[in-house]
């Protein structure tokens, strides 16, 4: 279990769940904690969260599968969520998506061979004002062009040390 979540975080969640009325509300936090430590949320991660919070595994799985920012399958070190909604389509989002797929050599839902990038379409990022947009980790990148995307990819690749 230790590779899913460090002991101090396990203790932290357990203690907090014991003091609040609806431990359910910690499910997202706990799943994100597992994800940021382990990279994604395996089945054992769902079971761990359920056990820590004293809720049913089915309740955790319902939430884990509802949100597309919780990864229930292995992903690359950086997950690119490219906006797949109407404002971005109008501003060239589809061309950008094609550019991303070509540059990375992967389709949607796939991970590059070096394990750095996973590419996913996402529903509206709420960045319509700077469409087309994409999100990597907690950072949103707006007003994208093919050149800008290339720069961002290079930068991200350097960050991950690849």
């Amino acid at each position: 279990m230790n590779d899913l979540l460090p002991q101090n975080r396990i203790d932290e969640f357990r203690a907090k769940a014991a003091t609040i009325e609806h431990p359910r509300e910690l499910i997202v936090d706990a799943l994100r904690a597992v994800q940021s430590h382990y990279g994604w949320v395996p089945d054992a991660g769902v079971d761990l969260v359920a056990e820590l919070l004293g809720v049913l595994p089915v309740e955790v799985e319902e939430i884990a599968t509802f949100y597309d920012k919780i990864y229930r399958r292995p992903v690359g070190k950086r997950v690119i969520h490219i906006c797949d909604s109407i404002c971005c389509w109008a501003a060239g989002g589809e061309e950008l998506a094609t550019h991303l797929q070509r540059t990375l050599g992967i389709g949607f839902g796939e991970t590059t061979a070096d394990g750095v990038f996973t590419l996913l379409p996402t529903c509206c990022l709420g960045a319509c004002g700077e469409a087309p947009a994409m999100m990597v980790g907690l950072t949103t990148y707006g007003s994208l062009t093919a050149a800008k995307v290339d720069t961002i990819l290079a930068q991200l690749r350097t960050e991950t040390g690849a």
């Binding site: 769902v46 049913l56 089915v58």
Partner: protein, 693 residues
């Protein structure tokens, strides 16, 4: 009682009825998926659109979400509403696989019906359909997620109504998935209801898979015989076997659902080991010969030892008609040695219940609406699972549940537990009623006092108990306690989970007759030489089966009428095969004294699976249906007694002979049933007052 106009027709409906139901009252059925009477309205499927003109809510509305109001004018035929429904159904169908030819739901598929009713006949969507992997949900439920239209009925039934914890809805958007976290058998004892509520073929009965189209099934309204609650069921038969059982609707008893035991525990009728031929001294004979022999042999025993040497044993499994004829036969023979339950303690409990229940009687529907249910010495999931489900509905509506018994029990809802050992249950009940209880620990006394206060404050309290743990004395005390805690303005109710589907009916016939242990004494002491067992095996059903087995060996004449391959059936001197409840009309009186009829689904016969396992149609032909020898037990007894073999005539005779059974004369199946009044003018049945055997 608002009166509203729907499609130019006026209808008056009870306060709180939604417009969809009001339209249904006029036989105007508008397509809908998410609304279900037991589950309520959520307005999610967007199918039941109607136009409402005038008033606060006007325009196109989801009819299930709008309460009927006086003067409301509604149109279901409004072109805009009709078009909207058409678009919604078309959209719900975009991902549907159109695999009706290989789908078990075909023929009773609400999606098929609603698609046609919604006017969607031409597929325009040409995109890719989303597909899913199915899960192995165990031996009872088949899973076919591609057919799903995401109406959410399954999860509302399984999780919300039935309290199952291992089923949910995953994903989002058009990838919504209904199932378990991982493959595995569904854990809820009410899982089979998924089959009934799913409007399409996502959840189907695996035991029935690819066996029959529903229109090929013989179906009839029936009553589940597997416990004393008397839930409505609809068994379906084909090729001379029961192929499935689905829930019937009885709003007073089970509502819309049944337990998995009632749905999947129906093997007895099809059992290849089932004895189907009448036998005398081990040799197969015709039914008429067996009945004649029975008459002669009983007469011989009486000639030799007197009428009291013959004992008759009815059963909670046998219909009211059969038990009544057994009672009449005993009277004709001149023997008082007549019992209706081989288990002496369960027998007593049933008789005490019958004598005391009266105005304390509560139905499962009353329990669903109770605000405080106390379960004493009972485990509903084993003794009567639908009681557990009724209790859950009480809790969902804000009621409380307190369990008094030796150990915590599994219930599909939150409950509090007062630990009381089995031998202290009686004292605990007395203490609850306000009596002194020095034997009990102070802590328990305080808890019971607190419960007494809660009961005093409750509006619709009910106490339910099980005789298996309470014993007849405890059952007696339970009624006294309920009486003590009742006031004229605020009566308290009781429910007892009895031994079988007709325990109450047997108790009505038993009166103050002996119990079976007394009959065993009689056999052991050489006073009883002949025993007639009606659909019961004392070697399994008696309080002390081993003792019964020894006693049976002493008999000069053992007669068994039964459909099961029991010890008493296989070792009887005269064996008369009876039909099972699906092969016969009849009536049971359930644990609250409710008389209910069940209708014949099929004629008895050896399943085609047994006679021609490899081929259909059969290659050999007979004039007689193989295995069709069993008769309904009441018909065997009617022939024996020279009574009418016409059930309607027989029922009228029974009704005329005993005013308590008056409703039997006009009893119809597929009805809520009629609660019988208890013995008029007779003092209450008291403990230790049975006439010795």
């Amino acid at each position: 009682m608002p009166t509203l106009t729907i499609d130019n027709l006026e209808v008056t409906v009870p306060e709180g009825t939604n417009v969809l139901e009001a339209a249904r009252a006029l036989d105007i059925v508008i397509p809908h998926f998410c609304y279900h009477e037991a589950l309520g309205a959520v307005g999610a499927c967007r199918l039941c659109a109607m136009r409402i003109s005038d008033g606060k809510v006007s325009g196109i509305q989801m009819a299930c979400m709008v309460k009927a109001r006086d003067g409301m004018v509604v149109s279901t035929l409004d072109p805009e509403a009709v078009e909207l429904r058409g678009h919604v159904i078309e959209w719900l169908m975009t991902n549907h696989p159109h695999d009706c030819p290989v789908c078990d739901e075909g023929g009773e598929c609400q999606l098929q019906e609603m698609t046609i009713a919604g006017g969607h006949g031409n597929r325009r969507y040409t995109g890719k359909k989303r597909t899913y992997d199915n899960q192995d949900l165990g031996p009872y439920i088949a899973h076919e997620m591609n057919r799903c239209i995401a109406c959410y009925r399954c999860v509302r039934t399984y999780r919300d109504y039935c309290g199952g914890l291992d089923f949910g809805v995953f994903g989002s958007r058009d990838r919504v998935y209904f199932g378990r976290v991982r493959d595995g058998q569904l854990e809820s004892p009410f899982s089979g209801n998924l089959v009934d509520v799913c409007p399409t073929g996502v959840f189907t009965d695996k035991t029935f898979r690819f066996r029959s189209r529903p229109w090929d099934l013989q179906e009839a309204p029936s009553i589940c015989p597997l416990c004393s609650l008397g839930c409505a069921t609809v068994p379906g038969a084909r090729f001379r076997e029961v192929q499935r059982v689905r829930a019937g609707i009885n709003r007073e008893v089970n509502g819309f659902f049944i337990c998995d035991r009632g749905r999947f525990g129906n093997g007895a009728t099809n059992d290849p080991q089932r004895p189907r031929r009448p036998r005398v001294d081990g040799a197969q004979v015709a039914m008429e010969t067996a009945i004649d022999t029975l008459r002669e042999r009983v007469a011989a025993v009486i000639a030799k030892y007197g009428p009291q040497s013959v004992a008759l044993l009815g059963s909670p499994r046998a219909s009211l008609e059969a038990n009544t004829l057994l009672h009449d036969w005993a009277r004709d023979l001149g023997t008082t040695r007549l019992v209706f339950d081989a288990h002496a303690e369960q027998d007593r409990a049933a008789r005490i219940t019958e004598a005391h229940l009266e105005h304390q009687a509560r139905s499962l529907n009353d329990i669903r609406h109770s605000d405080l249910v106390v379960l004493v010495g009972t485990d509903p999931l084993s003794e009567g699972p639908m009681l557990a489900l009724a209790v859950r509905q009480a809790v969902r509506a804000g009621g409380g549940v307190v369990v008094i018994g030796p150990k915590p029990i599994d219930l599909p809802c939150r409950c509090s537990h007062l630990p009381v050992s089995a031998d202290q249950l009686d004292d605990a009940l007395r203490c609850l009623a306000g009596g002194s209880a020095d034997a009990l620990a102070a802590e328990l006394r305080d808890a019971l006092k607190e419960l007494r206060d809660r009961l005093a404050a409750a509006q619709r309290p009910v106490m339910a108990g099980g005789p298996e743990l309470l014993g007849s004395r405890g059952v007696n005390t339970l009624f006294e306690t309920v009486e003590a805690l009742s006031t004229a303005e605020r009566p308290m109710g009781a429910m007892l989970l009895l031994n079988g589907p007709n325990s109450y009916g047997g108790a009505m016939l038993a009166g103050r007759g002996p119990n079976f242990d007394m009959l065993l004494d009689g056999i052991d002491e050489g006073r009883i030489h002949a025993l007639i067992c009606l659909e019961t095996d004392p070697c399994r059903d008696a309080r002390n089966p081993a003792r019964a087995r020894t006693a049976l060996d002493r008999l000069e004449l053992l007669v068994t009428l039964d459909a099961l391959p029991t010890h008493a059936a296989l070792n009887a001197d005269i064996f008369l095969p009876t039909s099972t409840w699906v092969e016969s009309d009849g009536a049971f009186v359930n644990n609250e004294g409710r008389l209910q009829a069940f209708a014949r689904v099929m004629e008895p016969g050896l399943p085609l699976r047994a006679t021609s396992p490899d081929s259909y149609p059969p290659r050999e032909f007979f004039l007689e249906t193989p295995g069709s020898e069993p008769w309904p037990a009441w018909r065997i007894l009617a022939r024996l007694l020279g009574r009418s073999e016409e059930l309607s005539v027989l029922r009228r005779e029974i009704a005329d002979a005993d005013p308590r059974f008056a409703p039997l004369a006009d009893l119809a199946p597929d009805a809520p049933g009629i609660r019988l009044t208890t013995t008029p003018g007779l003092p209450h049945y008291q403990l230790d007052r049975e006439t010795p055997g």
